[in-house]
């Protein structure tokens, strides 16, 4: 409750809150993409031979693919040769404690409101922070270690747990999956790795913050999360980037593996720099996220997308095992000139599989928001169930809202329900709030948060508060 108060109090400035540049000395390799760059990345990271081979295969696949154009987004394609594929804060051996972290960097985190110490003490959230491409600090490692939970950067996992990485990397999103996934396979520099052992319930929320800092770099993180039989984990991912005039590229891959009876809850609050009011700058967010559910497993994706100039993202579930469950809860807010094409794929393969899709798109300014989703019931998927609800809210008459659901059913026992609506914030709703003393901006925040309640309710508490703030902030001044 008190958080909701804070929300309204903090609605003071609509400018991008995280738009500052931290002055950290970075070790950045020369721009461009070729085999030598890949070899350089791999050697800088001291990687085993098999991984270099895997990357090179990714590069080869990438070179055979073309940039997809089917999404309902329009942008100048990034010049992939003018990007540096590796940028690490300089200095650095392995860090043992927070004290060793660059003070500048710590300041950055403070500005982000995610001071590690505070997190550690107050919330019990274990955090892995990725700035540009390198993971700088992971907290709570020891405590998790006692339970056999591995939570570290993927670079570290490659060194420490190569057998796990090798076994699962690329099994859900193969190198050849799509243009940006192939690029990521070739050049990924860091990301998070998580393994929850059999029957273990991870006692805290695991969390990663991603941030693009260095100018002219792309961020290509790779996240691999394995929940072994009967385990449970809730994973949070936050994203920010400083405001810059040029577009920055973010092409991440996230792979989730939920073994029999395991459950993974994956929540994202995406607030990459969206560009300024004129549509200059901002992050291109081209992300491939997919999870596989084995028998009776469950994967639940929750996302609140408020940032990025262009978003292209479809967190998906392959419901391979019988009785498995996939969920997708999404809020996508676009304002000014932002474009979002996002949704999910639910592939029902196993028997008695269930999926739920709740998508709320909010478009203001001259932005465009698209929902694109696929529900596919394969022939053997007896008794599959899907419920989808895709709502859009338009603010002003210059924005656009689009709904592109694909439903493919090859089994007669399937039950599918899909609904979509479009609405606006009513004048009468605003007047009612005004009459009770609530300003128009605060009223919009209130109404939009109410509209998105079904999704926000899925987020862990700390994240829900941040997400509510972001929703209000990103829509400020968009009516009246």
């Amino acid at each position: 409750m008190t958080e909701e108060d804070k929300l309204l109090e903090e609605v003071t400035s609509a400018e991008y809150k995280y738009g500052f540049v931290t002055d950290i000395e970075s070790d950045t390799i020369k721009n461009g993409l070729n085999e030598d760059v890949i070899r350089l990345i791999s050697s800088k990271k001291n990687e085993p031979e098999w991984l270099l081979e895997w990357r090179l295969e990714g590069l080869k696949k990438f070179q055979q693919l073309v940039e997809p154009e089917w999404a309902n987004v329009h942008y100048k394609k990034p010049d992939l040769q003018s990007i540096s594929y590796y940028s690490a804060p300089k200095a650095k051996k392995t860090l043992n404690s927070l004290d060793e972290v660059d003070p500048e960097l710590l300041k950055t985190f403070e500005k982000l409101g995610i001071s590690l110490d505070e997190q550690k003490m107050l919330t019990g959230v274990a955090v892995d922070i990725i700035v540009d491409s390198v993971s700088v600090a992971t907290s709570f490692k020891e405590k998790l270690g006692e339970l056999g939970i591995i939570f570290c950067s993927i670079s570290e996992a490659i060194q420490e747990h190569p057998e796990l990485v090798r076994k699962y990397l690329g099994t859900v999103v193969p190198q050849s999956d799509n243009y940006y996934a192939a690029l990521n396979s070739a050049v990924f520099t860091d990301g998070s790795f998580c393994y929850i052992p059999k029957g273990t319930r991870c006692p805290m929320e695991l969390s990663t913050y991603f941030r693009i800092n260095q100018a002219g770099t792309g961020q290509f993180e790779r996240t691999l999360l394995i929940a072994d039989k009967g385990s449970y984990v809730s994973y949070l991912e936050g994203c920010t980037a400083p405001s810059r005039d040029e577009n920055q590229l973010h092409a991440a891959v996230v792979e989730l593996i939920a073994m029999d009876e395991a459950e993974i809850k994956y929540s994202t609050v995406q607030n990459w720099y969206p560009g300024n009011k004129e549509g200059v700058g901002g992050v291109f967010n081209f992300v491939t996220k997919r999870g596989i559910c084995h028998e009776s497993a469950k994967i639940s994706w929750t996302q609140v997308e408020t940032g990025s100039a262009v978003t292209w993202k479809y967190p998906s579930c392959i419901l391979k095992g019988d009785n498995s469950i996939g969920e997708f809860f999404s809020v996508a807010v676009t304002n000014n000139f932002q474009q979002a094409d996002t949704g999910t794929k639910m592939i029902h393969i196993g028997k008695n599989t269930k999926s739920t899709i709740i998508s709320k798109g909010i478009a203001a300014g001259e932005s465009n928001s698209s929902y694109r989703g696929l529900v596919k019931i394969m022939k053997g998927a007896e008794n599959a169930r899907n419920f989808s609800q895709c709502d859009s809210l338009l603010m002003g008459d210059k924005s656009g809202s689009h709904t592109f659901p694909y439903i493919e059913v090859k089994n007669k026992t399937a039950r599918i329900e899909h609904e979509a609506t479009t609405s606006k914030i009513g004048e009468d709703q605003l007047f009612y709030c005004n009459q009770r003393g609530i300003s128009t901006d605060a009223a919009i925040g209130l109404i939009v948060n109410g509209y998105c309640k079904d999704v926000l309710n899925q987020l862990p508490m700390e994240f829900a508060v941040e997400a509510q703030k972001l929703l209000s902030l990103s829509l400020e001044g968009s009516v009246g």
């Binding site: 409750m1 108060d5 309204l8 109090e9 005004n434 009770r436 003393g437 948060n449 109410g450 309640k453």
Partner: protein, 250 residues
């Protein structure tokens, strides 16, 4: 407290209020009665600051200050409360969250810190009891799926929370059964004191059996055509509005 002088209001080029004057002092209860289409709801909306109405003449002063150019939320902060004839639904926003936001926005306008959660909770419980509302009600989405009686009780609950100087009750009795009417009237009477005022807009006399007005005004064709005490309401109920019409046209 409220001083309306020669007010003229149009909507889409059509004049609805045609030179209306009215003065309400603190401690008073005024009833505005009149047939459908007389301009009763327009009057309340204009006082609250709804912008689709165009004020073409006259003035509205509240506590000695001209409020014509004030935004609706600023009027609310100044102490004007309108109980809506048709309260608006806001899906996903709980009654608690809504009233908390409203109350703290008002406090902010007066440079006060937000009310501590504990105090807020206590206040809410107290007012809930006054309106005989159960706890579950507070977590429901605002007005969504509320019955007519629940909506009106919720309006008076918000009034109790916000403690306005001037409460305008627009057709609060419509859609209420006898029990709800009693609860709502009882709530208003308890909130009534020497420093605030109430303006009741109604078509029928029945609410006035419960909330006794000091003054009764008859609004007809955009003007107050007759004023009197509570007996005027009784007379109206007996003789109907045709009686007024005839008297004016005579």
């Amino acid at each position: 407290m409220l001083k309306i002088k020669d007010l003229r209001v149009e909507i889409e080029g059509k004049e609805i209020i045609k030179g209306l004057s009215l003065e309400i002092n603190k401690g008073e209860v005024h009833a505005i009665m009149g047939p459908n289409g007389a301009g009763k709801s327009t009057l309340s909306a204009v006082i609250a600051g709804r912008d689709e109405y165009e004020v073409t003449g006259g003035s509205i002063e509240f506590e000695g200050k001209d409020i014509m150019d004030m935004a609706p939320e600023d009027r609310a902060h100044a102490g004007v409360f309108l109980s809506f004839q048709y309260p608006v639904e806001i899906p996903g926003v709980s009654v608690t969250n809504f009233i908390k936001t409203a109350l703290n926005e008002s406090r902010k306008a007066r440079d006060l810190d937000p009310m501590p959660a504990k105090d807020m909770l206590k206040l809410m419980r107290e007012k809930q009891a006054l309106l005989e509302m159960d706890k579950q009600f507070m977590s429901r989405s605002l007005n969504e799926g509320f019955s007519g009686g629940e909506k009106k009780r919720n309006e008076i609950f918000q009034m109790a929370m916000l403690d306005p100087k001037l409460a305008i009750l627009d057709e609060t009795d419509s859609g209420l059964d006898i029990d709800a009417l009693r609860i709502v009237a009882n709530g208003v009477n308890k909130l009534k004191n020497e420093d605030n005022a109430v303006m009741i807009i109604t078509h029928y006399q029945r609410l006035l059996d419960h909330i006794i007005p000091d003054f009764v005004h008859v609004l007809y064709d955009g003007k107050i055509v007759k004023s009197g005490d509570k007996n005027l309401a009784i007379e109206l109920e007996e003789k109907g509005y045709d009686w007024i019409k005839k008297e004016i046209e005579a």
